[in-house]
């Protein structure tokens, strides 16, 4: 008997990748997709790597697949925007060996800046796409994707959603099937995408799409469950489970496991017998539009009812309570308590977080606009710092900051823009923005918060850490050298745990009309410190501070640090000794010397 284990969708994808005989895998971390590559990297047969961004991740995977090995690449939904350029052409050229690309979407925006529906990318790039609904399907569909490639020659997409990625269900394990390398043969007509070749590839792609339509109509992953009813449900991915919970066997089902191309014939065959069909899908009305186009608009209830009115919610997750509420137009019986007794509990910078010093100081400055980026430090926007004015996508802090500063200079309004970005995000797509600052003579100030790890997604290695995903020692790329090479003349590196230094350096940068870069370097408090970290920061997080309650006057100034280890108790400040790691920010803030190191006199 095969071994059965509980796995998250992400773990099951990784297992499927291993069983499918994949040799090369790449990704850039991003919730909810991060654990896929982390798990893939545990299999020694697979060469795994954190790429510097999603575009690079896809490009190295394409190279590996053209080179003749089964390759794999994963990213979060917004990462696919970064990788969209190679994506939309690799569908034309194809690859030599199988290539599978996973996108992890976020209905409900648990950890993301938008809710884009990447099923649309399958349509845009004209690539087949699978949509698993549980961990077993994650594993099975990975293997199905590679076998489909072997039949048709088209790279394949697989769309996860947060609940598929991060929910556990039972998976039956198989064995790895080694795939011999496909010998590399030069084929410029196929792989050199000049217009003359690409026009031919475009026509050939159409033939492959026809074959894929045929496959979609026949594959068991698009499955009709006939319960002899006149009402039906069409659902894909996790939504199928929500629908089963709501309707049980009181409806017929068409479970969609392949969303591009959709199985038009099967949809028609399914809908013909029905008086009403519910389309249950998260994010866009992707399946719904296809069902309407097939002529079933009069019986279709999706994001819209047949009369054009809103039916299912336009956004958020379609869990069974939401479906029930919409379909039966009834209030769900819930236990409702006094909401005034609930205070929000947003995430906050950790006790000892090396980003704290910068946000504490910049938040107090006037005439400064902070252009932010994506990472833990985005939390600097929140109280008590209120120290971020805008952000958008990975890397935008520097480039958008440049544009804004130029307009401010024209307007002569005296405002200075400080762009703030983390180490991993700088490597991802901040470097190009900084080059633009230099080239186009912008003069915004760039602060690189280098905590020597990709922290927000749970501590992944990056080009600055000195290690690869598998723990191998590699070149620890020098941020200052990059900054100087990009043409920045004014650069300083400081310790963000030293408030005086932070302030003086900000003064230095703000006093100049030229662009400058301040590298604020200190390892993340949650990081497992490397040998180099230990050597360079021997004192890091080794002490603790306490309040001298006889001296504390309860002025609350230290609470403005936003440190979760600090709180007020009977009108005086108190430091939680289990949380304090001795960063000393509160000690530097206190004006009356009421905070001291534990054990100090």
């Amino acid at each position: 008997m095969r071994k059965k284990v509980l796995m998250t969708g992400n773990e099951a994808i990784a297992r499927g990748v291993w069983e499918a005989g994949v040799t090369f895998a790449s990704a850039y971390p991003g919730t909810p997709s991060t654990e896929i590559l982390e798990n893939v990297s545990k299999y020694p047969e697979i060469c795994s790597e954190w790429s510097v961004n999603e575009k690079v991740a896809l490009e190295v995977a394409i190279g590996a697949a053209v080179g003749g090995a089964r390759a794999f690449c994963s990213m979060k939904h917004v990462g696919m925007n970064v990788a969209a350029d190679p994506l939309n052409t690799v569908s034309y050229s194809g690859t030599n060996a199988g290539l599978l690309i996973v996108t992890a979407d976020e209905p409900g925006q648990h950890s993301s800046q938008n809710e884009q529906d990447n099923r649309n990318y399958a349509k845009l790039a004209k690539m087949p796409m699978f949509c698993p609904s549980d961990s077993q399907e994650c594993l099975d569909m990975v293997k199905l994707a590679y076998s489909l490639f072997d039949k048709i020659g088209e790279p394949v997409l697989l769309r996860m959603t947060t609940r598929v990625c991060h929910s556990k269900s039972v998976v039956e394990l198989g064995e790895r099937e080694e795939k011999p390398f496909v010998p590399y043969v030069k084929n410029a007509k196929k792989y050199v995408c000049v217009p003359a070749n690409a026009r031919i590839a475009r026509a050939e792609l159409e033939n492959r799409l026809d074959a894929l339509k045929e496959f979609s109509n026949n594959t068991e992953v698009n499955r009709i469950e006939d319960n002899g009813q006149t009402v039906g449900v069409i659902a894909d991915g996790m939504c199928y489970n929500y629908a089963k919970e709501t309707f049980g066997d009181t409806v017929n089902y068409l479970k969609i496991g392949m969303v591009n191309p959709l199985p038009s014939k099967k949809i028609s065959q399914f809908c013909e017998k029905l008086t009403k069909v519910y389309i249950i899908e998260e994010n866009d009305e992707y399946i719904e539009e296809a069902v309407r186009a097939l002529g079933f608009g009069k019986i279709t209830y999706g994001k819209y009812a047949p009369n054009g009115e809103r039916f299912f919610p336009a956004y958020g997750e379609l869990t069974d309570d939401v479906i029930e509420k919409t379909v039966y137009a009834k209030k769900i019986n819930t236990v409702d308590a006094d909401a005034s007794k609930i205070v929000a509990r947003p995430p906050a910078l950790c006790a000892g977080c090396p980003h704290r010093g910068f946000f504490y100081e910049i938040g107090k400055r006037k005439n400064v606009v902070v252009s932010g980026d994506i990472g833990c430090y985005t939390l600097g926007f929140a109280p008590p710092y209120n120290a971020m004015d805008f952000n958008n996508c990975m890397g935008a802090s520097i480039s958008s900051g440049a544009g804004m500063q130029k307009v401010f200079n024209k307007a002569n309004n005296g405002l200075r823009v400080v762009s703030v970005i983390g180490d991993s995000t700088f490597f991802h797509s901040g470097m190009t923005g900084l080059l633009d600052v230099v080239y186009n003579k912008a003069n915004n100030i760039t602060v690189i918060l280098d905590n020597r790890i990709t922290a927000m997604t749970g501590h992944q290695e990056n080009p600055g850490t000195g290690y690869t995903i598998s723990g191998e020692v590699t070149e620890a790329v020098d941020i200052e050298k990059i900054v100087v090479a990009l043409g920045i003349k004014n650069i300083k590196t400081i310790d963000p745990q030293n408030l005086k230094q932070v302030n003086e350096t900000l003064d230095w940068a703000l006093a100049m009309d030229e662009a400058s870069v301040i590298v604020m370097r200190y390892p993340c408090v949650l990081k497992k410190l490397s040998m180099r970290d230990h050597e360079q920061y021997p004192e890091a997080y080794k002490t603790k501070y306490e309040i001298d309650s006889a001296k504390c006057v309860g002025c609350k100034l230290c609470l403005k640090s936003g440190c979760p280890a600090l709180h007020l108790n009977n009108g005086k400040a108190e430091i939680d000794k289990t949380m304090c790691v001795g960063c000393g920010i509160c000690y530097q803030i206190c004006k009356i010397g009421a905070i001291k190191q534990r054990g100090a006199k």
């Binding site: 059965k4 509980l6 919730t31 909810p32 648990h110 950890s111 549980d134 947060t162 609940r163 991060h166 929910s167 556990k168 269900s169 039972v170 996790m238 489970n241 929500y242 089963k244 919970e245 997750e317 869990t319 069974d320 309570d321 939401v322 029930e324 769900i332 019986n333 819930t334 236990v335 409702d336 308590a337 006094d338 005034s340 007794k341 609930i342 205070v343 929000a344 509990r345 947003p346 995430p347 906050a348 910078l349 950790c350 833990c376 939390l379 929140a382 109280p383 008590p384 749970g458 949650l526 609350k556 609470l559 403005k560 936003g562 440190c563 979760p564 600090l566 709180h567 007020l568 289990t578």
Partner: protein, 190 residues
């Protein structure tokens, strides 16, 4: 089919507790699905784990509003935050612990008073002090195992071989203490 919602604050060890629980249920032959949102867990945010199991097929890994049989709250304000997920005849097991959120620490807001009373007004509520129990056993670190014990006791899952699962999941030196904590948690809800 049973639905358990486990709620708490990042860093309280809800993830290990739910991992052990699901492994135990799987070993016992139940169908099971579990879902957690943990992107922010290390940064002091609110964390929630959904666990659904039964003899019959389990489809959704997510517990909708009004559908949880039991809410196990590692912190009392979190119990109130997720109370709308409780089925009208469901039970709340709440750890009598206050963890201030950042706006409370910074002095902008007060930790709300009367939470336990509010819970009791609306739902069957079992109040336990897992911290005190854990301290007696030897360490605050086993609070999560006391809470796991409370789930086990409440759901009648004492027959599962928890010692075996602990052996597979924690360091040898800590097995006994964790097992004691689980047993103590079971007693708290009896």
């Amino acid at each position: 089919m049973k639905s358990i919602l486990m709620v708490g604050v990042g860093g309280q060890g809800t993830i290990l507790a739910s991992k052990l629980l699901t492994q135990g249920l799987l070993a016992e032959g139940y169908n099971i699905k579990m879902s957690e949102i943990h992107g922010m867990s290390q940064r002091g945010g609110s964390v929630v784990t959904h666990i659904r199991f039964g003899e019959e097929q389990v489809y959704s890994p997510v517990i909708g509003k009004g559908k949880a049989d039991v809410i196990i709250a590692f912190e009392k304000m979190e119990a109130l935050r997720y109370l709308d997920h409780l089925a009208p005849n469901g039970t709340v097991v709440v750890n009598d612990l206050e963890v201030p959120s950042i706006s409370i620490s910074t002095g902008d807001k007060e930790y709300p008073q009367g939470i336990i009373e509010e819970l009791q007004k609306h739902a069957k509520t079992i109040v336990i002090n897992a911290g005190e129990t854990a301290e007696k056993i030897g360490s605050q670190k086993v609070v999560n195992m006391v809470m796991l014990g409370a789930v086990i006791g409440k759901m009648g899952l004492e027959n599962i071989d928890w010692k075996k699962l602990l052996t597979e999941n924690v360091k040898p030196d800590f097995i006994e203490m964790n097992l004691k904590a689980i047993n103590a948690g079971v007693e708290l809800v009896k």
